[in-house]
Amino acid sequence: MPPKRPDFYAMLGLLRSATQEEIKRAYYKIAKRLHPDTNQAPGETELFLEVQQAYQVLSDPARRSAYDATLGPEEMTLPEVVEKRILLSRKEIARLPESQLLYVLVDVLPTEQQKQALSGVPLNLCLVLDCSTSMKGERLDTVKASAVQIIRQLKPQDIFSVIAFNDRAEVIIPATRHQGNTHRLETRIQMLQTGGGTEIFKGLQAGFDEIRRYANPNTVSHIILLTDGRTYGDEPQCYELAKQSAEAGIGISGLGIGSGWNDIFLDQLVSYTGGTAMYVSQPKDIERLLNEKFANLTQIFAENVVLDFQSTPGVSVSYAFRLQPETAPLNKQSPIPLGPILRDWPLSVLMEFLIQPVSAGQDEVELINGKLEIASAALQTAFTSVPVRLTVPVKDTISPEPPPASLVQALSKLTLYRLQEKARAEVESGNYEKATQHLQKMATHLLAQGERSMAKTIMLEIENIEREKKFSESGDKQIKYGTRALLLPGERKR
């Protein structure tokens, strides 16, 4: 038996097919954690030197190929960290001279072994609170109460910071381990005052600066933005910051309070990091939603899973939606941030593929060929990718097997969500008649499914659109986030 050599690929958490770019990224991530200036545990400096040696070899193409030649056939060098379950709407696709659709439901969950080994990961949480004039009264009071509740739930190793912003930002609590001294923090929260406008970028920037000081691969870093207003003109800067956050492994979630905030902006902002935007219709819901969000953060197995794939000619993702743990529409272009995996709550994503006519000689179609990049503080390796390749055979005649029931069920709700998207776009372009028709169809289906209150909301909104030629301030959000909530699988719905 040959002597056991250190596997450089395993050390960096990479597959042998890794590109130079991936090698570099993986190295930087691990090096940041293990560098003698920042490492904590004994022995990490030695590990750092080994990782450095691995990187020196792998980053040089000539040395890498020499090293590769010494390796035996590839075994699975990576421990299986996640389990994937994939359901297709059809097991095979027909050879047709026209384009066709295929639906794929992907579940990603930690393996039983990983779940057992999971221990508490420190949290690095930053609350970015809108303190503009419109927050005055019950809204800010509930926000304060909810923030204090969260402070009381923090563990000693958790890092916590709070930013208040209106047209400027103020660091209320700088990022720090509070070490049990929560009283002082609570007082600072209680002293928050309202006034001024809403400039979200300033708040986010300040939050980012605080959280970044402790952001490392061993903590779950997350910004929660609470706002009730619209920001004007700084949206592109906010998106840019969200992209930076995603790169630094910092998640962003948003809570929109009342009806005046810009849901399209918030949805877009959080999508870069795989986060979620939530709609808070009444101040009393702030507490519940914020606590729920906090509970989810403490349950995190992986902060974000990114699906990175090469597009196959003739195949495109025409729609992607996360069903759980938190429902949200997803980007369609690779890389797609899919979102977090919780310990007991798998990540579940529904995708629609548009497949162009299949050529005569082709006997299979490749839907996805790429990898899932799993960013997880709970896992030992800083950076893990799991290869995913999904192909479907092409047949001249296909068996008329019905699609899996769970897929059809999810899709029935998603169809309603997409009707709502259509109606919004139609109101936007002035096509009111078409919009009300679509909403009418939605209401009919919702009634048939027993969702009476949602159907009623839509009926009222139809009247409003006919009269005012636009959505009411709260109606569009109620319908959007209401239909989104229907998509949560049964047992998780409240």
Binding site: S89, R90, I93, A94, L96, E98, S99, Q100, L101, L102, Y103, L354, I355, P400, P402, P403, L407, V408, L411, S412, T415, L416, R418, L419, K422, H438, K441, M442, H445, A448, Q449
Partner: protein, 163 residues
Amino acid sequence: MIVCPNCKHQEADGAIFCSECGMQLIQYTPGDTHRFDSATGQLDEVPVPEPHVQAPAWISLHLLESGQILPISDRMEFTMGRVSENQPIMPDIDLSPFKAFDNGVSRLHAVIRNNAGNIVIMDLGSSNGTYINGTRIVPNIEQPLRHGDIVALGKLKMQVVLS
């Protein structure tokens, strides 16, 4: 290409729901219908009546394509249509085992009534209309039926057998 039977919107092959009206596009296989029957326990009797009916049937519908004969005895008035998931509409006679969906039968298509021996049919505002011997009848107005008439619900043809 799939054409939504409800709103005529064209969907790419493989679609499961219509993106225009939200209707489910997968057709009901007989297996599906059976499952539905046993779940509700109500529909068994109507589409395929017992072979040993006590009262003599006053009308039978002879489905031309499948050759099956549906005798009706126990009621003097019955609606015809197609049971569809997600819809609370229940016709007295569910024609979905006879490719009602393909043939453009509406969920509540037409009613046949026995007014003391005068047998009439009325279209209930169906999408694809009701025809007697090839002539489309005006919706919501009763038309007399005679022995041997060919009635078509959309494209689903049946011969009326009176006794």
